[in-house]
């Protein structure tokens, strides 16, 4: 897998390259947006990591440019040191697939990269009749979920939602995608049906880090359901 990293800070670029190479990916670093744009003319990448604040071009423009030139792929993960919700919403709405805050936490970083790659390039149809994640066992055929061996009662809709989350673990899921997958249609902007189901699920299934998973809201965009190593503290 060839990954492009656009990062103007030399030390951080080196860190990203080292982490990715240790994980078995090949990584090319670019220190300006223009250098990356030139390279994209005759090379192709499987994933793009970019800093949201580059010296020559804004992250917003670069994401936009990539999406216009190469369509839905490659997936884009942007890194931002700002903790401003506005940046995140802007990045996701213009076509980036996920974001990460700086400074990087290596384990989280690699998990995100892998999740994005898995989503963009599924190896094969997964045989996910029986999924194990943290303390949960999800049986798609019998439509049951067990937490630490105990079955949890869910309504059919709640089960569909839970199944969709477990199948897409690690991915940033926009509200539209979840609604489309579970309800078969996107809902009105003002509708809180999804939120209500999500919080009910969080309580019923105790979706908490102590059980190896974490569900977090990316406000005004969607949700992310991800695995947490219980040793990761």
């Amino acid at each position: 897998m060839r990954i492009a990293s656009v990062e103007d800070d030399a030390a951080q670029a080196a860190q990203i390259r080292q982490l990715l190479e240790e994980a078995g990916f090949s990584c090319s670093s670019f220190n300006t947006g223009f250098a990356f744009q030139r390279a994209l003319r005759d090379q192709s990448f499987d994933l793009v990591l970019m800093d949201w604040q580059l010296p020559d071009i804004s992250g917003y423009e670069l994401v936009n440019w990539v999406r216009q030139h190469s369509g839905r792929l490659p997936p884009i993960l942007f890194l931002t040191s700002r903790i401003d919700e506005g940046d995140i919403v802007a990045g996701l709405s213009v076509g980036a697939d996920d974001y990460l805050g700086k400074p990087l936490r290596p384990a989280e970083f690699l998990a995100r990269v892998r999740a994005l790659l898995r989503r963009a390039y599924p190896d094969a149809v997964q045989d996910d009749e029986l999924m194990r994640q943290g303390s949960y066992v999800v049986d798609a055929r019998r439509r049951t979920i067990a937490l630490a061996g105990q079955g949890v009662e869910l309504s059919p809709r709640e089960f569909d939602l839970a199944l969709f989350l477990f199948r897409n673990i690690g991915r940033l899921l926009s509200r539209d995608v979840v609604e489309q997958a579970v309800w078969g249609r996107a809902m009105d902007a003002g509708s809180r049906t999804l939120d209500t189901h999500i919080s009910r699920l969080r309580i019923k299934l105790a979706l908490r880090p102590e059980h190896g998973v974490r569900l977090s809201s990316v406000y005004s965009h969607g949700y992310r359901f991800e695995a947490v190593s219980t040793a990761d503290a």
């Binding site: 700002r82 401003d84 919080s199 880090p209 102590e210 977090s216 809201s217 406000y219 005004s220």
Partner: protein, 584 residues
């Protein structure tokens, strides 16, 4: 400024004196004409006709007295003159003092009295008084004086119109005055219309001043208050503008030239029946002392008849309301037509945002000059130590300590930025379930709790309640409270987070069993950069901004932060969010 009013007063006095002189001249002329008429007996035929009538109407007289004997029965000469001239004087006085209508009635009564009196005299005491000269005099005075009076009135109107036309600030209008009565009435009508417009313009101007403004008399009694002022202290000023305006208000726009020189503002009200500026200051500000002192100083300067104060002389005084809004109390004298202070215009300028911006700038400087620099200085010190082999730390320890300082800097910067975001004018609100918010916050703190062996107990009882909030800020605020609770809890003691409805609020409680916070320290807790706990090696580090952030976020959502704690009793921090911000 002072010459114009004096000229006005002079003009008014001149008019007054001129009419008096004209009246005296008229009186003298009327008396002379009457005297001449009487002396030469010009109206003898009228007198004789009257006498004939008197005699004919009383038949016994004709028998008693022969017709030619009347010449000898005349009243004595002196009494005759007196009776002739006195009615003329009375008629002139009536014309001078009474309104034209009453004067006309008075003249008619005089004439009737003269004729009637003359007839009665003949009948009763057999004396003859010839009344026609006196009647002529009385009838002469009335039209003459009416003519002079109308001339004077018209002249006065014309000259006042010209004077008003020269008044600065009035919008120019055609000053061509037609000298007919109609023309002048039209001109007066135009002028009063312009004055009405002007008054309306000025009162609208006061009403739409961007600051709460009142106009007081020199005793502090409030005469006029604009809308913002009434909104600021409705308890005191409600209905103030509906109270009858005292005559003293006239003194603000220009006082008449005659009449008493003083006492134009102290007779209509004693200062008690009307809310005063001190009432406003005392109602609005918990510590009104400086405001009252400023007001006294302002009044003192006015009473001393000091020369016109320029606004730069008085910088006003800053006062804080109970909810920590800052106002600048600022006054300037208003001058009457004679240039003497006749009232005070007082504004309450809201400078809350200015003061907040100043405070933020101070915080930023403090932050950059101390909190942000000190970890960097520590890193440099570590590197410096490392360059001397004998004092060098083993590499893992060195890296660990550098990493600690760097993390601290980052955490500080993040806290600072978040606080700035929470204080920023434009927050982005979204409809979010409160349960989700609390879960997001506790999930985030789970790793920290785990490293300290602390269990997070959740008690969430607000299913389906969604509020219109800024989600990232609120999650961070709850996370700050949970993080504090974890940091201050002894290992193994659980931290409880509960979410429940509380009257018109949604309450989020974070309860720990830590050392608690002494009552006297609690006030300092929510001030920037203050740390209540002694700094020691084992004391948790923090920026001192975390709780300020929590308080700011709660307040920006219309809510509040509550703290229940005492030394040794653990602490319960609560965020109360109003349910009225509920979504949908």
């Amino acid at each position: 400024m002072t010459s114009r009013p004096a000229a006005g007063r002079f003009a008014a006095a001149f008019f007054h004196r001129r009419t008096r002189v004209e009246w005296v001249l008229l009186l003298v002329a009327a008396l002379c004409v009457t005297a001449v008429v009487a002396r030469f007996n010009w109206f003898e035929r009228a007198d004789l006709a009257l006498l004939d009538f008197a005699v004919a109407s009383q038949p016994h007289l004709a028998m008693e007295i022969p017709a030619n004997a009347w010449q000898t029965l005349r009243v004595p000469e002196l009494a005759g003159w007196f009776a002739t001239l006195l009615p003329v004087l009375l008629a002139a006085l009536a014309a001078w003092v009474l309104t034209p209508r009453d004067a006309l009635i008075a003249v008619v009564v005089l004439v009737a009295a003269l004729i009637g009196g003359s007839i009665t005299l003949v009948g009763s005491v057999h004396l003859w008084f010839a009344p026609s000269a006196a009647v002529f005099g009385c009838l002469l005075v009335y039209p003459l004086w009416s003519w002079r009076r109308q001339e004077a009135a018209l002249r006065f109107l014309s000259e006042e119109l010209v004077r008003l036309g020269r008044e600065p600030g009035l919008l120019a209008a055609p000053t061509r005055v037609d000298h007919s009565l109609d023309g002048r009435m039209q001109a007066v009508y135009d002028m009063t219309a312009r004055l009405r417009d002007m008054r309306r313009f000025l009162s609208d101007g006061l009403e739409s001043l961007p600051e709460a403004t009142v106009i007081c008399n020199l005793d502090g009694g409030i005469l006029v208050a604009n809308r913002r002022a009434v909104a600021l202290v409705p308890a005191v000023l409600q209905g103030i503008n509906d109270l009858p305006q005292p005559v003293g208000l006239g003194a603000l726009s220009g006082k008449g030239g005659f009449g008493g020189d003083d006492g134009f503002y102290d007779d209509a009200y004693g200062g008690l029946d009307r809310p005063g500026l001190p009432d406003v200051v005392e109602t609005l500000f918990p510590v009104p002392g400086p405001g009252l002192a400023y007001w006294d100083a302002l009044c003192g300067a006015l009473d001393a008849d000091a020369p016109v104060m320029s606004s730069s002389d008085s910088h006003g005084v800053e006062l804080a309301t109970e909810d920590d809004r800052r106002y600048l109390l600022h006054g300037a004298p208003l001058h009457g037509e004679e240039g003497r202070p006749a009232g005070v215009i007082v504004s309450l300028v809201d400078i809350t945002t200015v003061r907040r911006a100043e405070r933020q700038r101070e915080q930023t400087l403090h932050f950059l000059s101390h909190d942000m620099r000190s970890p960097q200085a520590s890193i440099l010190a570590l590197i410096d130590m490392q360059s001397r082999a004998e004092r060098a730390l083993p590499q893992p320890e060195l890296l660990g300590r550098i990493s600690e300082h760097a993390h601290r800097t980052l955490a500080l910067a993040d806290d600072f930025i978040r606080l700035a975001q929470a204080e920023s004018q434009n927050l982005v609100f979204a409809d979010v379930e409160v349960t989700t918010l609390v879960l997001d916050a506790t999930d985030e703190m789970w790793a920290l709790a785990k490293t300290r062996g602390i269990e997070l107990e959740l008690d969430l009882d607000a299913e389906g309640v969604a509020l219109r909030v800024s989600p990232m800020l609120l999650v961070r605020a709850v996370a700050n409270l949970v993080s504090n609770a974890i940091k201050f809890s002894p290992p193994g003691a659980p931290v409880k987070v509960s979410l429940y409805r509380l009257g018109p609020y949604i309450a989020i409680d974070v309860i720990d069993q830590g050392p608690g916070i002494a009552l006297e320290a609690q006030a300092r807790l929510f001030r920037p950069f203050s740390r209540v706990h002694a700094q020691g090696n084992d004391a948790p580090s923090g920026s001192g901004l975390g709780l300020v952030f929590v308080k700011t976020v709660a307040e920006r959502h219309g809510g509040r932060v509550m703290l229940k704690s005492d030394a040794g009793e653990g602490a319960t921090f609560s965020i109360w969010l109003p349910l009225r911000s509920r979504a949908g």
